[in-house]
Every structure is written in structure tokens, then in C-alpha cells.
Amino acid sequence: MTLFLRSWQGSIALLLCLLAVARLPLLATGASTPFAAGGTIAILLLTAVGALASFMRNSRAARALILFVTAHTAAWLLIGGISGNEGDARLSYFLLIAASWLLGWRCISELAEIRPASRQTMMALRLLIPAIFGAWVLILWESITRGAGVPFILLPPPSAIWDRIVSSVPILAADVRQTIFKAVLFGYVVGCAAGFAVAILADRISFLRRGLLPIGNLMSALPIIGVAPIMVMWFGFDWQSKAAVVIVMTFFPMLVNTVAGLSASGSMERDLMRSYASGYWQTLVKLRLPAAMPFIFNALKINSTLALIGAIVAEFFGTPIVGMGFRISTEIGRMNVDMVWAEIAVAAVIGSVFYGVVALAERATTFWHPSNRGG
């Protein structure tokens, strides 16, 4: 039992390996290019070696390295072998995929426990771990869609999406320019600023607080599909109407979080300001805003993804024939599902980068907060 617990992923992977051996071959009889015996054996060996290595008592780094190599090579061979045989995979194929996935998981767990001495290694690990995690999402997706022969127009494999991205760079770039650099950025900045400004106003003028906040709540869920057509009516087809939708969407999270953040400072800290007969604005700038920063960044993070969704979805309701939302809705209609996913992938990458930038800014400005000092 304790042996099992020392690496439960390894244990299960071994088990799956054995099961796979019992249920060979990997592909249905009649597959056009079946696995060579050597290939099958190599895959089985790799998974078994990886699984056993996860029990070793050598250094973490060594274990992680072995796991990394075995898991990914096995996956590589498995995926390589399926091309030309789409839809012909049998149970043992999926068992082996699952086994190598467990090894990948184990690899991540091991890496996460490593405490490197140097800053550079630390940074590298910080990037490597989510990268491996993501790689496995893609590996599983690829092997399952192709192994099980999922119809292309339901869910294309990542490789097809990648091909599409590579072959449509100019279109994607034009769409990104239209949607992100015009609508999203403008809307995000204005929406966040407006939410922030209204929060401050409401805080400053109690009359507005009582009058405006309930109405701010009303705006919280103005459904995007209701607002989008109206904004198109008001601001026209081009990016301005999308920016308006983004403004409406990002306003509320910022309002709520800023209001909550403004009351986050401690009472003694506030008393201190009072003892200086500090004015409203001074207290705001020197105490309450810094104390509110964790909350404000919370809103900035949530909004960074909301803004993207808002702009894309708003394009479903009328646009010039460029833009990520336009492309998605049009290409779905044309059954070019790979293009749809290409846009989604681009959106996800840009959204993550956007979020990452906000998170970095947060780290830099709220370094003092306990959540950033470990704990």
C-alpha cells in the first residue's frame, strides 16, 4: 500500500500497461498502416520504464527527467502511429495513452516539488510546468479525436488546428487587429476606468453611493446578447459598438471590487490618517487605494478575459467582414471548424498573455500582501 502511495500514478500506469498487453494489438485489424511489432514493444517498454522510475529513490530532478522522456516519447510514438489509421484505435491504444498521461502527471508533480537554488531555474520551472500540463491537454485531445475518429466538424485534432493557424496567419492577424487592438483594448481601459471612477464617486458622495450602487447592480448582468444588438444600433457596425459592449461588461466587476477594496484598510490605519486630519483624497491615495489594490487587480484579471469574450461575442451581431467573432460565426456556418478553433486558440493565447501581464503588474504593486509573500 505504501509502495502504491509512493507513486500512485506509476502504479496505475503499470497496471494499464499490463492490461494493454493483454488486449493487443493497438489497432483494429485491417488498419491501413498497423504498428510494427518493434514500435509496440518500444511503447510498452517506455511506459513501463517510466512507471518503474517513478518509484526510484534517486534525486527528484533525475526522476522528473526520466518521466519526461518516457512519457513524451511514448505519446509521440502512439500519436505518430495513428496517422493514416484514424478511427481504428482499440482499447489497448487508449490504455497506453492513459498510462503515459499518468506518467506526465507524475512528472509535473515531481517538478512542482523541486526547489531550485537559482532564480533562472525557478523561472524556467514556472514556465515548464504549465507547458507540460498544456501539452498533455493537447496530446489527449489529439490522440482521442484521431484514435476514435471523431468527425472533423465536431472537433478537429490540434494538429489540424495548428496547420490552419499556420496557413491563415494574415487572416488571423487582421482579425486580431480588428477585435483585440481596437475593440478590446479600448473597451477594457474605458470600462475599468469607468467602474473605478464610479466606485470612487460613490464612495465620496454618499448620496451617489446609495443611489448609484443599486443601479450599478442592475447593470451587472445586462445580458450581452441583449446589449450587443442595441450597441450595434447605436454605435454602428464597426469596432466602436464592440468596445461599448466590452465597457458594459467590464464595468461591474470593477465597481464591485473597488467598492469592496476601499473598505479593506484596517481601522487603526484609518485612525492614523484621521489623526493627521488627512483630507479625503490624501487618505484615498495613501491608504485606501493601496489597501484596495488586491481587490482592484482581482477585477482587472477577471475583466481581461471578460473583455475578450465580450468583443468576440458582440461580433456575432453584425460587423464588417473582419474580426475574430465574425470569423468564428462565419466559419462554423461553412463547416470550417478548424478555422473556428484556430481563432479560439489565438484568443486563448492572447487572453492568457493579457492576463499574465496583469498578474505581473499585480505582483509588482501588491508585493506586500500576504498572498504574495508566500503562505
Binding site: 468527425p151 472533423f152 466538424i153 465536431l154 444588438p229 450595434v232 444600433m233 454602428g236 457596425f237 461580433e315 456575432f316 451581431f317 453584425g318 460587423t319 464588417p320 467582414i321 465574425f326 460565426s329 462565419t330 462554423i332 456556418g333 461553412r334 463547416m335 470550417n336 471548424v337
Partner: protein, 300 residues
Amino acid sequence: ADITLQLKWVAQSQFAGYYVGEDKGFYDEEGLDVEIKAGGPDIAPEQVIAGGGADVIVAWMGGALVAREKGVPLVNIAQPYQKSGLQLICPKDGPIQTEADFKGHTLGVWFFGNEYPFFAWMNKLGLSTEGGPDGVTVLKQSFDVQPLVQKQADCISVMTYNEYWQAIDAGFKPEDLVVFNYTEMGNDLLEDGLYVLEDKLADPEFKENMVKFVRASMKGWKYAMENPDEAAEIVMDNGGQDENHQKRMMGEVAKLIGDGTGKLDPAVYERTAKALLDQKIITKEPEGAYTAEITDAAMQ
């Protein structure tokens, strides 16, 4: 037998025949249990049927042939709509009176698989759709006639049975409008046909059910054309909006159904396929994309 029908759009008189067939028990008479699923702005029936969510779908020929090329082997088993209801309308006091005036102007078009007839037409006219003084600027049009009212576009797409009447409701009189009707111009591509997956059709039982289904549906269409007001009521009961509008729509739809046999005219099919090929929307001549067996059997 259970059959699921996926419509292309929300419940409206455009699909009255199916709703009537259900409501009047025509399907029951054939021993069929039909579930009608309404569509929506982002439902692609071709995708639904590929995912196993439907047995038969209502789709436009353009979309269906494209899906066929992408590995969803759709086959047209009946074509209740023998004419197209698509047209482009422009206000008479605007810049566009004839096809020659399009250059440099903005036209509203529906996408999501509904854009092929327009692009085929522009292809025929030799106009670029990339904008600029020598081409036309294309807008992805929303669900309504607002772009016309708001002058955001110089012309917009409408269906004879639907958005055209919204424009009339919005205060445009028929004589205020310049109309380019795709059918009249000979640019029409086949609309609302019934499609199923080719491999399923190999199953005789399924085929038999489809014969029954088409027969009952066409019966429904006939009934709807003879009793437009009642048909509109039935549509309303199934989630349609705006009763008057549905009645009027039923009247207009009746003009597109033709002889009510649901038979596909091979000539129109050839033209549709050619237009799509010319436009490179599909890359090779489709084969086996339609069959007359079902309608022939149904109309015996």
C-alpha cells in the same frame, strides 16, 4: 419510429409544414414519432446531424454541399422549397437603382452559410467584395432590418417572407424600395431542403421511415398552404413570435413551395453546384448529393 428533425432557424412559418404535420397527426398516421428541434443564429444543422443530434435536417444546398466536402456525407432527399426567397433591397432614395450602382457601396449580407448566393452573384457581376471604389463593402448583417433604417448599409438582404415585411412595417412602402430578387435574376441557390446522412440511407428501414416522413411533411405543407391562418396559429403554439407576421409569412412561403411534391429539380441543382464550384466554395463536382428515390416513393 423516432425521428428528430433539426430546423435551420427558430420556429416560424418558414417551417409551417413540419409543425402542421406534427400538430395534425400526419406523422402519427405514418407511425412516426417526430421531434422538431428549432434552430437559432448559431446552430448549424449540418453539425448537429454529424454529432448524431438529428436524423434529418433542414438546410440550404450551399451549406450542405460544403459539409459534404468536409466529410459529412449529406444527401438531399427532398426539396420542399422549389424557389428561393432571398432578395436584396435598397431604398429608392438611396444611391442604388440597378446592379451597375453597387460599386463603392455597402451591402448587408447574412453569413453563417447563407452568404453563398450573394458571393455567387457578385462573382457573376465581376465585383470585388473587398471594398474600395471598384468593389462593394460587405457588412455582416444582424438579424433584422435595422441597417436599412439606420442607413448603415445601402442595401440589405431580406427573405421575401420575413425581413421584407419588417421593412414594410418599419414604414417603407413597396414603391420606396428597389428589390433584387435572386430567383428572378436566376441567381437562386436551393434553400430549405431535407438532408440525411448517406450511410444511414443504406439502411432500408431508415429509408422507409424517410419516405413516410417526407410524405407526411408534404401533406403538412399542403395543409398549411390551404389553411394559412391555422398553420400560423400552429406555429405560434410552437414558439413563433408575432401572429400577424407569421400569417403573412405563411402566405409568402406558399409562393415558394411550388408543386408541393418536394421533388428536387435537377436543373436547379446543377446550377447551384456550378455556382458553388465557380466560386471555389466547393472544389470538386459533388456526386450522389441528392436522390429522387425518397420523393418518388413518397408521391406514389
